[in-house]
């Protein structure tokens, strides 16, 4: 049914101890241990200095992913469609606003308010990259990676436009963290194109899968996988890092899985 083929030209993955794709892929190949260490604060290069200083951890995570994708590809950022996917958006800002509203003065910061929209990262990115094409910001709770990938795949196939997929979530502060206990901050990005390019890493098709979903065999990586919606991508990234042309089932809610069938590198692909 869904045999359309899209191509991956760049990958980014960020989690504690894994500051970029080159570290993450070495760990996923088993060349280095998965040792969690705190991420250094990221300074988005494409934001003007004022915005860079004020950018929230959530916007920094999204820019960290998007900038790695752009830096490791030959695509012009201004020409790309964008899919930003996040379960929770910026809960630190939502909490600041809710705290302000619990005071009798009700002084909501205007900056907090306009940064509280779910498309804040997408909006800042469009400004930074001067990207005027279609951009969307979606949420699918814990399925935000799988659904984001499908939205990017649909954008690529139907609009025939190369698309930046950026999936990210940052844990909420307490007390909200108790209601939404994400274990780690993480982000994943794929630059998806309609045709194979000289820089293509892999091709893929999407379909409904079955079973419980592919797990990561390393216990430390498996524990990352279930600690953040973006990290649900790890079984896919593990197959790519190990150069395995295989099918990966991304676990989703409701006993569903998304099957991603991968062809690595120069392998012939047929639409």
């Amino acid at each position: 049914m869904m045999q359309a083929t899209s191509h991956i030209e760049a990958i980014s993955f960020v989690a504690p101890g894994l500051p970029d794709w080159s570290h993450a892929s070495a760990v996923l190949r088993g060349e280095q241990p998965c040792a969690a260490s705190e991420l250094a604060a990221y300074q988005p290069n494409l934001l003007p200095p004022n915005e860079r200083r004020r950018a929230s951890p959530t916007v920094r995570m999204a820019f960290r992913i998007a900038e790695e994708l752009i830096n490791s590809s030959r695509q012009d950022a201004a020409q790309l469609a964008c899919v930003f996917s996040s379960s929770d958006g910026d809960l630190a800002i939502a909490q600041r606003i809710c705290n302000a509203l619990a005071e009798s003065t009700r002084m909501v910061s205007p900056t907090d308010f306009h940064n509280s929209v779910h498309n804040a990262a997408a909006g800042y990115w469009s400004i930074a990259a001067n990207a005027k094409g279609p951009a969307t910001a979606i949420s699918a709770f814990d399925d935000s990676f799988a659904i984001g990938l499908l939205e990017a795949h649909a954008m690529v196939q139907v609009e025939k436009q190369s698309t930046l997929l950026v999936v990210y979530d940052v844990p909420a502060p307490m007390p909200l963290h108790a209601s939404r206990p994400l274990g780690i901050a993480a982000g994943v990005g794929l630059l998806v194109t309609p045709h194979r390019t000289a820089a293509s890493i892999a091709a893929f098709q999407c379909d409904a899968g079955d079973g419980n979903g592919t797990r990561c065999d390393d216990a430390a990586i498996e524990s990352l996988r279930i600690s953040n919606p973006a990290a649900r991508s790890l079984p896919l990234l593990q197959a790519i890092a190990r150069q395995q042309s295989t099918a990966v089932d991304i676990a989703m809610s409701g006993q569903r899985t998304l099957r991603i069938t991968l062809q690595i590198g120069a392998a012939e692909v047929h639409a």
Partner: protein
């Protein structure tokens, strides 16, 4: 060429529950805006509040209990929509029916109340009744609709501020093209909350006067709430519902500023032009433009420039936010519904509450209603972050009778 058949739709706003209430209010020039008090908000402003949100949710949906889902539930009860979805489930498998919802704040009012209670009780934790996943989390809107309608296909929430529930049509079209689902429920739900009232007020965008789009003395928005839903099927599907179609859509980014539009309206113009191009229609094929028209100085001026760039100063247009208020993440679906009402009833609504048109605005803003045959309507929705979406609706025959003129 039509992109999607629209075989059913419904809308609930301050104008009332369902399509007939909206038609009557449009024909009778009856605004839904009042000087309400919401919660204990002390801002001096008009609001578009939906009546009838006191009833709790049915027990099967109890975990979703909050104002936003009460509004969604009320909206789903109108215009025989539940029965239309039941018939859709017989025609397609429930797992092949997608759900694409737009919202800007979902059930954040529940979080506001939880933080207030924690503060009043001097507690460092939020109360036990607060359920983040089923109220505040944006995806809860799609989760609620899937459970309420017993469909289980591909689903997501789009949250791009005030363009959210316009963009759901484009997302549903793409997903159906790719084969992720065979039919879809699209829609949007946004409800009154302190975050948006105080947030827009902090940006000095809330008018103390009633919303007067395109008026020389306009002073900002009146915030409203609404729920709207539509059933979309493939154009070739044998469909016996309503005779409407999505003819085109255009999505663009301003790449200008987080909370104010590009003053040249170039992002808005791009969205409108993309919608026309996709529909293979010239501007003169459009009978009416339902403007985003929030009533802020900046929006109405920038949108006017965009309209002039693409359409010139001839095409009749107006904003209907003087009726409903700005329903934010639900504005796209509400105004999609109004576009279809305009086609059904041959009605071009006036810019309600506009006393004196701003002389700086060049577009053909209607100060009086017109009755005429209406075949195709463009609807604009623009949001924070420079997120623009223009939709083009028509009578299903309109897509066959006229290609590029």
């Amino acid at each position: 060429m039509s992109l999607l058949r629209i075989t059913s739709y419904t809308l609930t706003s301050a104008l009332g529950h369902g399509r007939d209430a909206h038609r009557d209010a449009l024909v009778n020039a009856a605004t839904g805006l009042r000087r309400h008090a919401f919660d204990d908000c002390a801002i001096d402003c008009w609001m578009g509040e939906v009546a009838g949100l006191d009833a709790t949710l049915p027990s099967s949906l109890k975990q979703f209990e909050c104002r936003n889902h009460r509004l969604a539930w009320l909206g789903l009860q109108q215009d025989d929509f539940m029965h239309c979805v039941a018939r859709l489930r017989e025609k397609y498998h429930a797992a092949r029916i997608g759900v694409f919802m737009g919202t800007s704040t979902a059930g954040i009012h529940s979080a506001e109340l939880a933080y207030r209670q924690a503060r009043a009780q001097n507690s460092s934790s939020l109360p036990d009744w607060f359920d983040y996943r089923h109220t505040q989390n944006l995806y809860s809107v799609a989760g609620f609709v899937r459970q309420a309608l017993q469909v289980s296909g591909h689903s997501l929430v789009i949250s791009t501020a005030c363009s959210s529930s316009a963009k759901v049509f484009a997302a549903a079209y793409r997903s159906m093209q790719l084969g992720l689902c065979d039919a879809a429920i699209v829609g949007g739900v946004d409800s009154l909350c302190l975050t948006t009232l105080h947030g827009f007020n902090s940006l000095q965008l809330v008018s103390s006067d009633i919303c007067r789009p395109a008026d020389a003395d306009r002073r900002g928005i009146s915030i409203g709430e609404a729920a709207g839903f539509a059933i979309v099927e493939k154009p070739e599907a044998s469909a016996d519902g309503l005779p409407y179609a999505l003819l085109g859509y255009g999505e663009s980014g301003d790449a200008h500023h987080m909370s104010s539009p590009d003053p040249q309206g170039s992002g808005a113009a791009l969205a409108m032009q993309l919608a026309l191009t996709r529909a293979a229609l010239e501007p003169d094929a459009i009978d009416y433009i339902n403007l985003h028209g929030t009533g802020t100085l900046a929006n109405d001026a920038a949108e006017d420039k965009g309209v002039i760039t693409v359409f010139g100063s001839h095409t009749p247009c107006s904003s209907t936010k003087g009726w409903t208020g700005h329903t934010l993440g639900a504005a796209g679906i509400v105004e999609a519904g109004i576009a279809m009402l305009c086609i059904e009833h041959g009605l071009l609504p006036q810019s309600l509450n506009t006393l004196q048109k701003d002389a700086q605005l060049q577009a053909n803003v209607l100060l009086h209603p017109q009755r005429k045959t209406v075949t195709r309507v463009m609807s604009n929705s623009f949001g924070f972050g420079g997120s623009n979406c223009s939709l083009l609706f028509g009578h299903v025959n309109a897509s066959m009778t006229r290609a590029t003129s």
